[in-house]
Every structure is written in structure tokens, then in C-alpha cells.
Subunit: 112 residues, 2 copies
């Protein structure tokens, strides 16, 4: 059997996506620049403290960028970088697999 | 902004793939039925105890099946189910992203 040297890049990509909430946060950000409270509202089971941590880590690895608009009050939005946006095909495949193979209800997205 | 009710299926797919080592184990099994020690040999940083746990969990959710051949000694192989094999496109996309965006060396696979 071909001896597959586990690609460290593949491992670290998995660790990024595998870290709880990261996949969902990136999914929300694929909709475009979003404010903190809108990300939080879309992932109700996650604490704000956790979201602060995750956004900081995603910024550190260049997947997310933080835009500060000097308005009154200051407006802060989070946005995917090109590196972050490039995860969309992987997330789409995971979504497709989940819909085909994971049991359980699929909630309808609600228009706001 | 469209209020995106986080799809529980998407969340549970992420939790599956996100659990440390699962992605790598599935990657190895995509090469075909494999014995325990060959999986273990391909993911050197993971303990055998961890591999036993993960394989049991992957079996419980129907991603992996365990084939026992009544030979002497008994031969046991692990194999992806259809559900497990259907993860290949997602893993390929993650691999492609990792190679394009994650810094660091890419080891060559070695012919045995």
C-alpha cells in the first residue's frame, strides 16, 4: 500500500476547520462583511467570549480581517480574506454531504 | 441580512470532521480496506488507544465498517461505508485549499 506521509498542511487545515465553531463562523462570513452581533445571532449556541477568541485566531491565520469604520459610534465589521473565501468549495461539499447523509431535520432559512 | 438558521446537519458534519484525527483516518481509508496497524503507521502522531476510540465512533455513525475474516490468525480490516466514501469530495477540497493557502512543506508520498 502506498505509504502516505500525512501531509502537515492537510492536518493543519483540518485543525482549523475542526476547531469547534470555526466552520460555522466562516459559513456566516461567506454571506459578506458582518458585524459581531450578527455573527453571534446566527450561531446562538456559541458564547460571545468564544466568538471573540475564534475571530482573533482566524485573524491571526489570515482567514478573517477586521474592518474598523471611524463613524460615531465606531462600526466594526468582520470579513473573509481571499484565503478565507477560498474555503467556500470545501464548506459547500461538507454541506452537501451533511444534507445527503446526516439524519435529522433541515430547518428552512428564514427571510428577515 | 438573510437570517441563517445554522443547519444542525451542517454543525454535526463539522463536529464529525472536526474531531481531531477523524479527517486523517478517513483520508487513509479512502485508499481502501486497511488493517489497524496500517492506519496507525500512516498517522504516527496518534496513539493506538485514540485510533481504537475513533474507529469505534466512526463505526457507530455508519462512516466505517469493520470486516472480520475468520482466518488464522483472524484478519480484521476497516473500510469506509458509502456514507464514509461520500466524504471524498469534501476531503479533496480541504486538501486543495491546504496546498494553496497553508504555509509549510509538502512531503512527497513514498512508494513502498
Amino acid at each position: 500500500m502506498e505509504q502516505l506521509a500525512m501531509c502537515p498542511k492537510f492536518e493543519s487545515a483540518f485543525q482549523l476547520l475542526g476547531k469547534r465553531w470555526n466552520g460555522l463562523i466562516i459559513r456566516v462570513l461567506l454571506y459578506g462583511p458582518v458585524r459581531f452581533r450578527d455573527i453571534s445571532a446566527n450561531i446562538p449556541n456559541m458564547s460571545d467570549k468564544m466568538l471573540v477568541d475564534r475571530l482573533k485566531q482566524l485573524e491571526d491565520i489570515g482567514v478573517v480581517k477586521r474592518n474598523v469604520y471611524p463613524e460615531t459610534p465606531v462600526r466594526i465589521e468582520y470579513e473573509l480574506t481571499d484565503k478565507g473565501r477560498a474555503l467556500e468549495p470545501a464548506l459547500d461539499e461538507i454541506q452537501a454531504w451533511a444534507e445527503a447523509w446526516v439524519e435529522g431535520p433541515t430547518p428552512q432559512t428564514a427571510e428577515k
